[in-house]
Amino acid sequence: MSLFLWGLAIIIIGGLASLFSGRKPGLATFLGSVSVVVGSVIAVVPAFKVLLTGSIESLQLNWSVPSGSFFIQIDPISALFLIPILGLTAVAAIYGAEYLWAYREKKNLGVPWFFYNLLLAGMMLVVVARNGLLFLVAWEIMSLASFFLVTFEYEKPMVRQAGWIYLIATHIGTAFLIVFFILLGRHAGSLDFDKVSEIPSSLASILFVLAVIGFGTKAGFMPFHVWLPYAHPAAPSHVSAVMSGVMIKTGVYGLVRALTLLGMPPVWWCWALIAIGAISGVLGVLFALAQHDLKRLLAYHSVENIGIITIGLGVGLLGINMNSPTLAILGFGGGLLHVINHAVFKGLLFLGAGAVLHSSGTGHIDLLGGLIKRMPVTAFTFLVGSIAISGLPPLNGFISEFLIYLGVFKNGFAGGFESIIPALVVIGSLALIGGLALACFTKAFGVIFLGEPRSNYAKQVHEVGFCMKSSMVILATLCVLLGICSPWVIKSAENVIFEITSIPLETIQTELAATSAVLMNIVIISLVLLGLTITFAVLRKLMLSTRGIRQVGTWDCGYAKPDARMQYTAASFAQPLTDLFKMFLRSLKKISPVKGIFPAQSAFHTDTSDISEKYMYQPLFSWVSSSFSRLRWLQQGRLQIYILYIALTLWILLIWKLM
């Protein structure tokens, strides 16, 4: 525990020091990034210790705030979330040092580093806090620090709008959480988590709904995800990586923590989580498919992956409810491993997107193309991330999805009717998500990195520097390692699963050992295939080395004068799929079609806005604003009138209380 506190202190002090040395961009960058890396390395030690041994470390100090106490504890659940938080934030800090350097003349670099360190400190506190008030304070620190990071380039109107949307969304979520903790605390008589016991089922259900909405807003469940497609593109890329990779996972953490507090789940909770997961997953990837902006596309993929995690949690919860250890272990195991895996590959993809943005100056997919020739490292690492996020073996994204599949397969076809239905729903939606994600990343990788440059943005690119490259390489290596070492990695989840489900440790160990044996086969087959591929590649290289290689234009398809604009665009590549699902997507198309034998200029434009934003939030907020505008007459613009309101309120309260 003391190592954790030391790490936290280094991170906070480093942030403050960076803030005060803002005049010297070099010093501010050094202090900010080095303190994050050093602090994370120190603080991650106790997290690993707790995760592997299953011991629990806690610290309780008095705090002079009413019903608050400085009660922090690292248990295996916290440790599982702490590791990706510390790891990804540290790697992204190395990247950010180079990424932010480009702004050194326009902006004070001390400010983003201060908020970056504060964001990390907030996330660390959120996952260890064991008191409702402390949790909410940490939650707000995290939310506000990330708000200031999102609005880093506040001079752009789009960024300001994104900042407002994020701020409002996060506070609506917090409002639900405040109610959640008040109700929980009133029942338990204390806001400390360890005092909670035996919640009556009606109250537990209310608390569950509050937790799903409150934490789901942060995590990005459909339809509470609207802030993600705005905030992630607006933030600097290393911040998007942290926000998408780990910050939204604090929502998942909160939900898991709430589930451990609420006791035995009724069956509808499980269905609710599976349904939310399936909807978020499928719709998230569909909307990603229709996007033209790389970071917005990745933001929708975060919604998709949160969906997969939630399906895992729902399956695990169903396992507890149906008293089926296999389902519970594999469901929670898969969902929680996906938390780590998603942090790695989504962090990697956002860093790759940042590298593209950094060197080309645009994130618009249809303006890019052919980047693999000029940015080989970025392209290769982005490819690794794309394979991982599409859930292809043997990379890490596959492992966690595979655990969920395995759980429902084993249980679904062993049990009766009521266990086949969840199996069908889960397998169907996971398969759909995986396929669509693959299509989406084929589109993104193909259009951005392959082919010929589509505009001058893509022609002027150059490979990024050492810091950015190295952090992407670290994450890409992790993607591969987590996949190949998965038979051993999943065994480390035993203490977490024990903490959540209270299934005897021996059952968990035997179940995980069986799974690990299956995974071993997959890894061996994949390694053999990979080895064969590499052998053939080497052979090809050897055979070609004696012959001359000629460079010709790509994709000329027999045309005499090919042009870069003849290539597939992102929209045309995705068109068959977006048309298939146009019922959900409701894309706006503007076509001026080709006419006649000698066609003149024609144009095609699509725009896919978010359905929940367009059909749910916009009507809701315009109704709210029109009903509030009826109260406009109260706002006279006169100071005297406003003070009269205060005086009247005072009088009414006094008279009402003293009558």
Binding site: Q635, Q636, G637, R638, L639, Q640, I641, I643, L644, I646, A647, L650, L654, I655, L658, M659
Partner: protein
Amino acid sequence: MNNAADIIMIFLVLTNLMLLGLSRLGACIRFVALQGVALGFLPLILNHWDMEVHLVIFSIVIISLKGIVFPWMLNRTLRELASQREVEPFIGYGISIIAGTITLVMCMWLSSRLPFPEPLMSPLIVPVAFFTIMSGLFLIISRKKALTQVLGYLVLENGIYAFGVALVGKQPMLVELGILLDIFVAVFVMGIAIFHINREFDHIDTDQLSRLRS
């Protein structure tokens, strides 16, 4: 019996009513100053002229701030403004005084309903303190000029001060110093604000500012 305290309380009531009915800004400033000086003696009186050092210093600070510094600042502002030296009320002087008397009755009723932990030095002190607070609020609400609003705030603060002295007895220092600091800042800020409003718009009528709302 605390006759001196009662006299000060009655003096407060009279000055409040006077302020509600006065039309000259200069006279208003003088009455607020007088009120402040009278209140400065209150802690000494309530402690039976017990000449403890901190009480004496406290009284001197209060009297010099409320009786000298604030009126001096306000008078200076008034001279520099060189605008019309009249109060310009939204609510006429006669109606203001009538409203004041009704408020006084209400305050008497209120204080009779308020439970207090121990008997107070003077039965008048709570209703009068309330009445002073309410008069201050009334002045702020019903007068146009920004300067009158500063005066209203000062009267309001006098009321809070009287209340604090009555309740906390011997230890009003902390409470009062806190409040005083707030008011000092408020007077400062408002003084600057009035100066700027005057420079921008050539007048200090706050109701003209309502055109600024969107």
